[in-house]
C-alpha cells in the first residue's frame, strides 16, 4: 500500500474584509557581480494594506531599493536574481507570473517612481508619448482620450501650461517638474500601489517638500497604497503609517511611525535617529554619526550584521543572528536586548 496522500495545507481563514494588498514573504535577492555574489536582500517579509503607506529606511546599499524593485521584477535579470521567497499582489503570485500578467500588473496595478527623474525619462520621446502609452495599453484609451488624460494628469500634479508641456521633451523640463511628470506617469493607469525609490533624493529641499505634499494629496484622493524608500527619516516621519528599518539586506525593526520615533528598540534605529538634526533639542556637541561601515554582503557575517558598529554589543551577537521578534503591539525588532535600552530624547 502506498503512503497516504499528504493532507493539503489549508490556509488560515482570512480576517473578514482585511486582506493585505501586497504580501512579501522571506524575499531573497542576489546580485552577481565581478567581485562575487552579493546577498542584497536576505529574507525580507512585510505586508502593505489597502491605503497604507509604508516607509523603508536604511543607508545606501542596505537592500531597500533592491527590495521594492524586485516586487514587479524590474531588476536586470543579467545581474540580479530573486533567489527565494514569495510576492503576492492582490492574490497574484508575481514571482511566478507569466509575461502577460506582469505587463498588466506593471503600470496597471503597481506604479513606480524612480530616483533620478531625468535618466528615467526617454530623452528622444515627447512627454505626450511617454504619458499616454500606459493608459492606452492598460485602460484601452484611444490616442486622443489618452492625450486628454495626460493633460488632466499634468494638471493634477501641478504642472502649469500642460498643453505646451506635453509637446516638449524631458530635457525642457526642470528637475522638480520632471519628478512631477514621473509621478503623473506612474499614476496614469490608475494603479493601486505606488512604489517610490528615493524619488526626492535628487531634488532640493523646497521642491522635495512640494513633491511630498503632492504625494500626500494624491494618496488620499486616489486611495493609494504607497511603499516609499528613502535614507531620510525626516521624510518618513511626515508620510508613512508604518516604518521598516533595513540593515545589510534584512529588516531590523518594524513598527508604526510614532513608535519608531519615540520608542525605537534596535540600536541601529536609535543611531539613525540620533544622527538627524532636530530643532527641538539643543546640542552642544557635533551631530553623532554611526562609526564604521555596513558589512560586506558578499560574505555576510554569521551573527548580527550590526554587531561591529553596535554600542550594546554582547557576546552572543557575534555568532548568532537575532530573528525579528515581537516586542510590542505591531512592533518587531531583530535584537537580543531585553528592554528598550534608552528612550530617545
Amino acid at each position: 500500500m502506498t503512503a497516504p496522500a499528504p493532507t493539503p495545507a489549508i490556509d488560515p481563514p482570512l480576517p473578514a474584509g482585511r486582506r493585505p494588498l501586497l504580501e512579501v514573504v522571506d524575499l531573497h535577492v542576489r546580485f552577481d557581480t565581478a567581485a562575487g555574489s552579493a546577498q542584497a536582500v536576505r529574507g525580507v517579509s512585510f505586508t502593505v494594506d489597502e491605503g497604507e503607506t509604508i516607509g523603508i529606511v536604511g543607508e545606501s546599499g542596505c537592500g531597500k531599493s533592491a527590495t521594492i524593485l524586485s516586487l514587479p521584477r524590474l531588476l536586470p535579470p543579467s545581474i540580479a536574481t530573486i533567489s527565494g521567497g514569495s510576492v503576492r499582489f492582490d492574490g497574484t503570485d508575481l514571482l511566478h507570473a507569466n509575461e502577460r500578467t506582469l505587463h498588466s500588473v506593471r503600470g496597471g496595478e503597481i506604479g513606480v517612481i524612480f530616483q533620478d527623474p531625468l535618466s528615467s525619462l526617454n530623452p528622444v520621446l515627447r512627454m505626450r508619448r511617454q504619458l499616454t502609452e500606459g493608459p492606452r495599453q492598460h485602460l484601452g484609451l484611444t490616442k486622443s482620450k489618452a492625450a486628454e488624460r495626460a493633460l488632466e494628469l499634468l494638471t493634477a500634479v501641478g504642472i502649469p501650461d500642460p498643453q505646451r508641456r506635453l509637446r516638449q521633451y524631458p530635457s525642457e523640463y526642470s528637475g522638480g517638474m520632471r519628478q512631477r511628470a514621473m509621478i503623473a506617469m506612474a499614476l496614469a493607469s490608475e494603479p493601486r500601489l505606488l512604489l517610490a525609490d528615493e524619488p526626492t533624493t535628487a531634488l532640493d529641499v523646497t521642491v522635495q517638500a512640494q513633491i511630498l505634499a503632492l504625494v500626500r494629496r494624491l494618496r488620499v484622493e486616489r486611495g493609494l497604497s504607497v511603499v516609499w524608500v528613502t535614507h531620510d527619516l525626516g521624510i518618513i516621519a511626515g508620510l508613512a503609517d508604518r516604518v521598516l528599518v533595513m540593515y545589510a539586506g534584512t529588516i531590523v525593526e518594524q513598527a508604526d511611525v510614532r513608535t519608531i520615533y519615540h520608542q525605537p528598540h534596535h540600536p541601529y534605529t536609535q543611531a539613525l535617529l540620533d544622527s538627524i538634526p532636530r530643532v527641538d533639542v539643543r546640542r552642544r556637541s557635533a551631530l553623532p554619526s554611526i562609526p564604521g561601515a555596513p558589512p560586506s554582503l558578499i560574505d555576510p557575517p554569521l551573527g548580527c550584521p550590526f554587531t561591529a558598529r553596535c554600542a550594546h554589543r554582547m557576546e552572543r551577537c557575534d555568532h548568532e543572528r537575532p530573528a525579528l521578534r515581537v516586542i510590542g503591539e505591531g512592533h518587531t525588532s531583530a535584537c537580543f536586548l531585553d528592554i528598550t535600552p534608552k528612550k530617545s530624547s
Binding site: 506582469l102 506593471r106 506604479g111 520621446l125 500606459g134 496614469a188
Partner: protein
Amino acid sequence: MSLLQYVVRRFLLAIPTIIGLSIVTFVLANYLPGDPLVRLLGERGAANPKIVATYTKRWGLDKSGPERYFVYMRNLVHGDLGRSTTTQRAVAKDLFDFFPATIELALAAIVVAAVGGVAAGMLAARFKSRWPDAGVRLLALLGSGVPVFWLGLLALEVFYLRLHWVPGPEGRLSSSTHVPPHTTGMYTFDALVHGQWATLWDALRHLILPAFVLGAYFLGLIARMVRASLLEIGGANYLVAARARGMSERRIMLVHALPNALIPVITVLGLAVGGLLAGAVLTETVFAWPGIGRYAVDTAKGLDYQAVLGVTILIGVIYVVSNVIVDVLYATLDPRIRIGR
C-alpha cells in the same frame, strides 16, 4: 531654436563650404599635366586658330587663375560645365545622363546597408554572446574588411556564374528590355511610376547584386554600431521606467531603445554617402554600371579636364548637402541638439 530655423541655418552654413570646395577642385584641376588647349579641344581643335580663339574667350584662358575661376563659376551657374573630350558632349549633359544610374545604385546600397545593418545589429544585441551574435559579427567584419572589387567579383562568381540567380555584369537592364520613359532616370523608379512591371523586375534583378556589394561595408559598420549602442543603452533607466509602465519587451526595443541607438548611426549614414560614391567607382566598373563612377574613370584616363572637374564638383556638392541632411536628421531624432545649439 525651432527645427525650421536650424535647417535654414545649416543650409546657409553649407554655402561657404561648397565655394571652398569648388576653389580647391579648380586649383587642383589646373595642375593636370599637358596643354590645357589640347585637353579641352583635342589635337585637331587645338590646331584650328578660330576654335582656339572662341574657347580662349569663353573660358577666359588668357586671364589669370582667379579670373579663370570666376569665369568657370559664372558658366557653371548658367549650367555650362564645358565639353567632354571623351564623349564629345557637354559635360552637363553627360552628368545628367550618368548621374541617375549612380544615384539609383547608391540609394539601393544605402537602403541595403541601413535596413540590413539595423536588423543585424538588433539581432546581435538581442542574442548577445550566442550564435546569432557571433554570426552577425563575423559577417560584419567580412563586409567591412573585404575590398569592394574583390567582393564584386566573388559575388558575380557565386550568384551569376554558379547559381544563375542574377544577370551578369551587363549594366542596368537586359538588352531585350526597353528603357522606361524618363522621369527621374532611375529605371526602377521610372518603371514603377509607369507601371512597367516587367521592366521593374529586370531593373531590380540587375540592381540587387551591385547594391549589396556596394552597401556591404556600411552594412557591416552599421550592424556593429547598432549592436554596440543597443547594448550600451540596454540598462538605461528610461527602459526600466518603460518596463515599469507595463510596456512589452518588443515595444521597449522598437519605440524606446532603437531611436536612441540610431543617433550615432545617422552620422555613419552621412559618411556613407561619401564612401558610397567612392565605392561606386569600383562597383560600377565591376558591374559595367553606366554611372558617374565609371564616367569619372573613363574621363580621367583621357585627362578630360572639364569632365573631371564637373564630376568632382558634383560629388563634392552631394557630399556637403548629404552632411547637412544628416545634421537635420540628427536634430529631428535628438531634440537635445536643437536646444543645446
